[in-house]
Assembly symmetry: C2
Amino acid sequence: MQDMKNLFFILSFLTSAAAFLFALYLYLWVKKQKIGNNEIIRVSRLIKEGAETFMRREYKLLGAFALAVSVVILIILPKPIWQGSVLTNIAMVISYIAGTILSAIAGKIGIMVATLSNGRTAEAAERGLKDAFLVGFRGGAVMGLLVVGCSLFGVAAVLMLVGDTSILLGFSFGASSLALFAKAGGGIFTKTADVSADLTGKVELGIAEDDPRNPAVIADNVGDNVGDVAGMGADLFDSNVAAMTSALVIASSLGSLVYRNIEMVFCYAILGLLSSIIGIATARVGKDGNPTKALNSSTYVTTAIFLVLTAAATALIEGFSWRIWGSSATGLIVGIIIGLTTDYFTDDTKPIVRKVAHASASGPAFTILSGTSYGFISAFPAMAGIAISALISYKLCEPLGEGYAIFGIAMAAVGMLSIVGMIISNDAYGPVVDNARGLAEMGGLGEETIRIADELDSAGNTVKAVTKGFSIGAAGLTVISLLGAFMAETNEVLQAAGRELITGFDIMDPTVFFGVLVGAAIPAVFSAMLILGVDRNAQRMVAEIHRQFNTIAGLKEGHATPEYAKCIDIATKGALRELIPAGLFAIVATIIVGFIGGAMAIGGFLLGNIVSGLLLALFMSNSGGLWDNSKKYVESGAEGGKGSDAHKAAVIGDTVGDPYKDTAGPSINTQITVVSLVASLCSSLFVAFSIF
Amino acid sequence: MQDMKNLFFILSFLTSAAAFLFALYLYLWVKKQKIGNNEIIRVSRLIKEGAETFMRREYKLLGAFALAVSVVILIILPKPIWQGSVLTNIAMVISYIAGTILSAIAGKIGIMVATLSNGRTAEAAERGLKDAFLVGFRGGAVMGLLVVGCSLFGVAAVLMLVGDTSILLGFSFGASSLALFAKAGGGIFTKTADVSADLTGKVELGIAEDDPRNPAVIADNVGDNVGDVAGMGADLFDSNVAAMTSALVIASSLGSLVYRNIEMVFCYAILGLLSSIIGIATARVGKDGNPTKALNSSTYVTTAIFLVLTAAATALIEGFSWRIWGSSATGLIVGIIIGLTTDYFTDDTKPIVRKVAHASASGPAFTILSGTSYGFISAFPAMAGIAISALISYKLCEPLGEGYAIFGIAMAAVGMLSIVGMIISNDAYGPVVDNARGLAEMGGLGEETIRIADELDSAGNTVKAVTKGFSIGAAGLTVISLLGAFMAETNEVLQAAGRELITGFDIMDPTVFFGVLVGAAIPAVFSAMLILGVDRNAQRMVAEIHRQFNTIAGLKEGHATPEYAKCIDIATKGALRELIPAGLFAIVATIIVGFIGGAMAIGGFLLGNIVSGLLLALFMSNSGGLWDNSKKYVESGAEGGKGSDAHKAAVIGDTVGDPYKDTAGPSINTQITVVSLVASLCSSLFVAFSIF
């Protein structure tokens, strides 16, 4: 049996290696694409430098944070050193640091390739849609492959070396804590720049989105990369690691057939990565094809391949259960359904976006009210979907034996995230083509090229909505299984202490209830802190832009170059200043609740956190996407088109939606994962030292 | 023992009678106040007629709804007639109808007195602040006394006649279902009129709020009455009845000392009403006094009297426990703390309102973003407060015996609602003086009088924020105890069927979890439906106002009278059309979840509903109040004052906040109560017929 497990470790390393090699191939392929326009080279270098500066400074700060956390872990986790073994604590520290470093490497390389691809995509657009799509997509796919490769490699390596799934929680926490700050920091950066550029450029001066006269325009393009490439990549790295970790922690608590179940987790992860590689390799768009369809059909192809491969594995390998295959398929299918509902609420060919655009004609208050309302409604199908998939996968696996029901939910999360390589590729495609569109305009590449770039960009926006819904759904299921992992961890501690085990968290128990109410308030406060961060930061940047327009002679007329670096600097400093308090708040609140109410309060706390986190994340992501697209719909000529009152109102809606959908909404995912992992990691402390 | 209980029934009737007599005295006192200005008489008659028309048509619709529900109850509740006793079902129907009728009577008379007081308050303002305050306050206090009197009388009468607390659930459901629609309908009416009047008057034409040229101005004043007097009254009638009912249902399931506990519930309710009567009778403001302070200090006086009287009762009456007194005091004190936090976030002398006003200077998007963020943050202390008070009251009463812990939470809710007579009086004071301010302007009463009316109005707004926080907190605690009542009811059914009893709702059980996620989405969809209702309705009314300005010659110049009735008609029809779907959605969703997942899913469903309901209600009420007051703050001269860009942005914030704070936010309270009662009522059906 042990040999078989080693086989899966080796297979994991081989598959990761294949993903890395394929990513290298794509990188070299993108690199050899022609780039010749001097203006494009100049501007894309500015973007690259801006992004790299931000990443360097962010990682420096996070390095200091990780160091501080490492010291804390060394002293008290999984047990205070005066009670447990120092070696275990050291293993935990190394595991934690490995999680942060792998996440950082994936983000760093992803950014490098994305900023390499944007200019090349713009020039490829001169040759037509087909070529440009391929350059943009492959530039993004490098990130997708790296993230999944790193997570599979990391989880397999940590587990092979230490052989204890509890230590994996440290690895997952490393990935999560980096993701929390990368997502929040990147999200604050990107929206600071975007909001400021829009308000001063589009609204005040009436110039185009990517007009080079706007001092914030480079910062805006940098923001797309650090927010959507690095941030989203770190987010999904985190979700993927967390899903595997919780499945592995639960698997190892099942008593019987531990190895078989652990193998199954790795097998599904390996097949998911293989499916993504095939999906990425075959993604193409015809000469006059539709890039949205191309991206979506690659997703469906990947899904189908994954389902077939896992079915084959289940049929061939002894002890692999069809029930678990069913759970995993349920998760994946529900993920796609959530993506489709999101699409319904945010696609401008569907009625909702048009209704909000129509409401905008009556003024901005109606834009906000209708968008908020549909955003709330859009959360319903996704939450019901997650609830139903959890229920189905639980009931499917319940007959397999005690503890298997929760394992079923964990495998649903693993299933949902199996195609994450494809999802990230689609997502990272967005900022690449968004940048390319800007570069095409700044490089003066002509109307037809800009039109093609526009088409690619619009596909990126549509697909982004789907991937966001998907990643929120995945986080939801993952965190449910993390709740199971928390219980498993706590019971291990309780058993060692010879105390009574926990069988569940009863909501009629007031400590649980106390946890639920407090936990539910956390995502609200967390997202509010991020939004206020963007708010404050954007006000600083708007002031700087006004200063430049007022003091730099000839800037408005296009005779002078704005000081782009100043805006990048403001966005960077502000993002770094604002990202720590929100993240720290969530972590500290968890620890306080744990010390007040112990394991019971934490169980409730995690539930409250998941529930309101899902609700708010879905609401914010969807209403933000809805406002964005309804603005674009008005700009395409509806309700009076550009310059009309409806347009002004729609722009206000879009500005409100920007930090919703790109800062707060997607950071909530990570917040709930981080909080769940902190809970599991500290379970022995809560058991030992709580007040109630 | 039985005699003692009868004694408390008699005392309940006597205290209710005292409240009714005192209300009659106040009514006669208000009626004999001088009113002479012809314009005021004319306009206040228009308001009165408009409000009465709306109420008549609303009650007609709700009568039809109640009839339909009665038929359903007759056939299936508490048990299908082919299984249980027809007589019990008939008792349930009568109890249900009594709940709706008492709620309707209180609303009807409250409106009558409020619309009688507004003109008299305006004229009293000519004689000074002191007189005007007294007329306005006493006009509102009639509603406060009636609501509490009716609820105490009704609960005592139903329990005395049928002797079964389960049947009380029908009475409470009658109160709730009427409140749901009265609050939602009144809320839609008032905000339709308010938003339309503001947008066309203040924003488009730049005329004053109560300018008689605006066709929506009467509808706006009618709205204040049907929303804040009738709607809020029905809401708190419902909360008060629900708190008593759940305490009584739990008390009767306690096994030992049932009568003593039931007596205690009545004793606390009686003493609460007495304290409110004293508080109302002594409310005064000096000649140059501060009306806000007068209202708040009456609340504190009432609180202190209640605490002293209940302490005395506990000391004197054998078997009354100090632990229960402690629980009830905890609830009341936490209620006041929630009110004070609300005040911190919505008072324009405090920093938050000023920050939002300052953000408005950067444009409306920042008004919305900062207001939304602070709204989310404001939910945290209130939710933590409710969580802590539930925890404390549970732990306090746990040593009294099995089941007492939940009884402690129920008594905390009773305690929090004990001073509800005072709370409603303060709340109903708001629309009276708001109307008075408008009437003073329309009647041309001179600057000094308008200034006094303004001061009274502003006090109304500040106090309203506190009472709203209070009523949300009370609903929170009540619904927790309703969860206990649901469990008690379900166990009664299970015991009768010889099945295993429920001991709690474990969140690791996927049926519970399924319920939690779906339940959490309900308040979001419910409030979205109401907001969209206001949205649609306001668009219709804005169109009508534009039509009048365009077609009625001389209207803009003030030479012609607008067709006020048309606007009232649109608000009425729209409100009635939009109120049913949202309420029905919540009720039907509960029933579907119950039939899918049975009692377990419903337990989770109620929890999810409470948690997200509290979060959204607090967020919406507080951000709405915040925007309202930051607009007023700008209008007082800050950030450029009236007409500045900051003012335009602040007006947009206020418009968004209007349906948040006066339609959706306060209706969520009622929604969670209704859903909890539906669950308890249908418990036997869910146990018998669920899928899982």
